[in-house]
Symmetry: C2
Subunit: 141 residues, 2 copies
C-alpha cells in the first residue's frame, strides 16, 4: 500500500515524507474515517497545521478522501477509493459514528446508471456520487 501511495505522490510531484507515511499508516490501520482530533491523538507530537497541510497534499494526490460526518462541522478522512474500493457510509444520527458499507453490486450498478441519466438530463457531467445512510447504530438504538 505504501508503495502505491508513494507512486501517487510522486506522480503529483510530492514527497512521501515520514509524517505523511505516519498519517497514511494511521488511516490504513483505522476501520473507519478519522477526524483530525483522532489523528492528532494517535501520534504524539503531531502538529495540527502540519496535519492539515499534509491531508491537503494527500487529497490532491488522490490518496485520501475527505468525508462529511452527520453534523458537517467536523470532517473525517479516509484512504481514497483506489485503496478502499467504492463504498458508502453508515452515519449514526445520535453519536455521529461512521461505518463503511458497500451496496450489492447490482444495486450499485443500477444506481450508477440512473445517476448518469439524471445528471445528463440536468446538464451535468457526472463525476461521482456519495451516498450516506443515516440511522442509529447498535449502541444508540
Amino acid at each position: 500500500m505504501h508503495l502505491e501511495v508513494a507512486e501517487r505522490l510522486r506522480r503529483d510531484g510530492q514527497r512521501y515524507t515520514a509524517l505523511r507515511r505516519a498519517i497514511v499508516g494511521e488511516l490504513i490501520a483505522a476501520p473507519r474515517p478519522l477526524t483530525v482530533r483522532e489523528l492528532l491523538k494517535s501520534r504524539r507530537g503531531l502538529v495540527q497545521s502540519s496535519l492539515y497541510r499534509n491531508l491537503a497534499v494527500l487529497i490532491a494526490a488522490g490518496v485520501v478522501d475527505r468525508v462529511a460526518g452527520m453534523q458537517e462541522d467536523t470532517a473525517r478522512y479516509e484512504l481514497a477509493e483506489f485503496a478502499l474500493g467504492h463504498h458508502h457510509h453508515l452515519v449514526c444520527m445520535s453519536c455521529g459514528d461512521i461505518a463503511d458499507v458497500a451496496l450489492p453490486k447490482t444495486l450499485e450498478h443500477d444506481l450508477e446508471r440512473g445517476l448518469r441519466k439524471v445528471a445528463s438530463s440536468a446538464g451535468y457531467a457526472l463525476d461521482h456520487h456519495r451516498l450516506d445512510v443515516i440511522g442509529r447504530c447498535r449502541r444508540c438504538r
Copy 2:
C-alpha cells in the same frame, strides 16, 4: 405553504414570527438550497445570529433541512421534504452550485429497499439517506 409551516411550528410550540415568515418565504422562492450568506443578502437588516437561531427552530420543527455543499464548510438550507418531496442534489465540483433532482421512482424504491437491508445487517436502524451527485454543471463543463 405558510399555513402548513405555521401548523408545524405550532405543533412544536413555536411562533411563526415575521422574521421566520420572511426566511421561509425566501426558501420557498429559491430554486435551490441557500447559504446563510445568500439569505442575509436577500433581506436587508437581517442579522446573522437571528437567522441562525431561526434556522435552528425551523429545522427542529421539521420545516427546514440543512444540506451539505461540496466543500462542507458552508451549510445550505432548504424547505424540508414535506414541502419539496424526497429528492437529491446535483453538486458542481467546480463552482459549488447545487440543483435539486429526483431519481426515477423505481430506482429510488430499489435503493430504499437495498439500504434498509444493508443498514440492518450492520446493526443500524435506517432513518433516511442522502445522495449527492457530483459533477460539472453546464457552465463549468
